[in-house]
Symmetry: C2
Subunit: 451 residues, 2 copies
């Protein structure tokens, strides 16, 4: 393949059709058919497709994530239907199941603890820290004033810069200091806002320092290393919890409520103590969180990075959820930092994002934090409940059954039969495949007799 391929220059400036032609010629080798396939994923309305194309560079088509909905989420006495964009087969099913479970047990109670965001001007300066601190205090109001243009609209909405402070980091790295800004960004995620402010502050700081009368030539020099918001926002944090009487925990008779409670508590303690488990435990939480984060047009990499750093904040990577059983009451909760926006970014551009917001009653950022934290808690409850009772594979593979059948080329009738057949059986790729070939009365080409 490679002989054919040369580096390409100015690719982003090519038309979409020219990009497709190049791609097909260099990397796909079967020409029109593949281009037709790619185009079949375009929105039928050209203006709508253009909107989606312009979100990023070099867009060739749309990547479909399944957009599902999970009803019956009672959060702070409001009944929500959650929009979830996710490719994993069992996530929406598990969310809906957990929502339904807690619906009859009081639902989710969520609160935002705080909403402060942070960013830093990282710089290198060689001199006496006290002298710098004194200078910083003197010019602080000028630094703030220099951002007026950028902050004016945010201030009208009740946000803006909460504070800026000088932080001495010279113990960690010679000559290293930060100007740390704290921000209230209201209903916007705030990344662009914060970065623009920090770049502006750095510029003013550098200029003021160059003019500082009492500073030597050397002291007037500063190297601005970088200006950047932090995606770690431990002070932009939300809590959600569910609770009920221990005796109300069990629906069926597969397990006593005491055994369930004991195993559930053990599972959570293990996720608190054992990083191998904590990673997977938190991954399950993020299944629910990311699905709603994506559907509402937020940045899941930011939410992920923040959550996992928070999980490791005391020096060991731990579970983000915890459980408490006291006086016969079972309480399960999550505390998780997340920076979300309900304005800006894609929120008012992407038609399906707008739909997701509408479905949620057009929440503000704090309401969305509560909804998403509850989605994560629900997902985790569902996973841990399955793990300590039936095992995770039963529910997961039940949802994956259709995918396996589709892969084998099953028709609708065969899929229906498979669903019926596996109602009370554990699905595995192997068992589903065997069933399929049995159904068609042909030999499974992969079947190997036990040695």
């Amino acid at each position: 393949m490679q002989e054919n391929i040369q580096p390409v220059k100015g690719f982003s400036k090519l038309s979409k059709d020219a990009k497709l032609e190049w791609l097909s010629d260099k990397y796909l080798q079967d020409g029109d058919d593949t281009i037709e396939l790619i185009k079949s994923y375009w929105h039928k309305d050209a203006k709508t497709q253009q909107l989606h194309d312009e979100f990023i560079e070099n867009t060739i088509t749309n990547f479909y994530l399944p957009f599902g909905i999970a009803p019956n989420f009672m959060i702070n006495d409001t009944l929500y239907c959650l929009p979830m964009a996710i490719e994993e087969s069992s996530v929406v099913a598990a969310a809906a199941k957990a929502a339904r479970y807690w619906l009859t047990r009081g639902g989710f109670k969520a609160e935002v603890i705080s909403t402060k965001k942070v960013g830093h001007v990282h710089f290198s300066w060689n001199g006496d820290t006290e002298k710098l601190q004194k200078f910083f205090n003197e010019i602080k109001s000028q630094l703030l004033a220099s951002t007026d243009d950028i902050t004016v609209n945010m201030r009208k909405r009740g946000g803006g810069i909460v504070d800026i402070e000088l932080i001495d980091k010279t113990l960690e790295e010679p000559n290293y200091y930060q100007i740390q800004g704290t921000f209230e960004t209201c209903d916007s995620m705030g990344a662009n806002f914060i970065n623009s402010i920090l770049e502006s502050i750095a510029k003013t700081f550098k200029a003021e320092l160059a003019n500082a009368k009492s500073f030597t030539t050397k002291e007037k020099e500063v190297s601005i290393i970088m200006c950047i918001l932090s995606n770690y926002t431990p002070e932009c944090i939300v809590r959600s919890e569910v609770s009920c009487k221990v005796e109300d925990l069990i629906d069926g008779d597969e397990m006593s409520h005491q055994e369930f409670t004991d195993k559930f508590k053990q599972a959570i303690r293990i996720a608190q103590k054992e990083p191998y488990r904590a990673t997977t435990h938190n991954k399950g939480i993020m299944n629910g969180i990311d699905a709603v984060v994506i559907a509402t047009g937020n940045d899941f990499r930011a939410v992920e990075a923040c959550a996992h750093t928070y999980a490791s904040r005391d020096g060991q990577y731990r579970s983000l959820t915890d459980v408490e059983v006291k006086n016969g009451m079972f309480k399960f909760f999550i505390e998780i930092p997340m920076a979300l926006g309900t304005v800006g970014g894609l929120t008012s551009l992407h038609p399906m994002v707008k739909l997701a917001h509408k479905m949620l009653g057009n929440p503000n950022a704090e309401e969305l934090m509560k909804i998403i934290a509850s989605a994560g808690l629900a997902q985790n409850f569902g996973a841990v409940r399955s793990l300590v009772t039936t095992g995770i594979q039963k529910g997961h593979m039940k949802m994956h059954l259709l995918n396996i059948m589709n892969q084998l080329g099953a028709n609708d009738a065969e899929k229906e039969k498979a669903k019926h057949y596996f109602k009370d059986k554990v699905v595995s790729v192997q068992s589903a495949t065997n069933y399929f070939y049995q159904l068609r009365g042909i030999k499974n080409p992969n079947l190997v007799t036990k040695k």
Copy 2:
């Protein structure tokens, strides 16, 4: 809104149309228009749409993520064009730019260090650890043999169970032990494979223990807490690096190569030492990684959780990339664990996932690990390079300009003018908005004069 809404039962069993009707009636209030909008996002071919619907539960439509491509990635002397599914405006542009930069400097050199995955049967047992260990050794071959049915196909492909061992965790939690399995899952991500094996081993272990002749009644009892793979796979790990002479680092004349190198090194040291920065630094890496992970049908929550836990492995959350400057050579590298699949899951079902694999030359899992690690390294290089030179906002907002213009309702001609106007200016939401209103010759309704 809420008076109208009652919990819904058996929702997943409703037809797609009935689900849409319910959603519209309860949460959308404007009936046919919204349903039409939702349906306009369906694939025009009903069979294709059904395939996408069946990936998860309660699918109502497709969530479009922009599917972009980043050409010019030279990785181990092969020239790749990367498929990237991502909503953030500057990610593909930055990846392509970094790829082009390193193309003329030798490209990326990547290697897989190891590919072992792990999973655990977590259980509670009360008794003498040595006695349990002895018993475990005795039944180990039976435990392994009990999984023959599940492992037969994987063994044919060269994988399977590498080992199982008993781990004493009683110091962390009374009576807590693990059977830790180590697995080679070849080109599949392996989650279902590992979980099925663990559940099978647990069943056999429990049965064997109940029959253990030398054990007391109490010792014969075991509580299987849970069986689950770990998404933390520090032994399934890949490394990618770029390197060149320090003097070849600089293209233009904005900065000397010495200043660039110093600032770049400082930026990386800060990301190694300061969790507030490390979070954002790694978030940027994941921008590149997740975009390819999603496009190739892999599970980005698993990749995220693993990467971030690894970043905190020594007790402090740190950068996943590092830099080394020695003998006039600049070397920048990433070491990151990730569990990927190129078979199973969505890889052979989702037409755009299949396209992504094809575009990459249908790589196996190890090749895909190398490609994705290189995407992360490229993304990070681009971000840090921008941060220590022009600042991050210039490039980022340039890409976001079209989104702002679309939000304001700009037409194609206006967008072209804006692109031209901002060629050499820093874009902010404010400046772009002001420009737009100026262009139309009307008063900016949001404009506030400086106080």
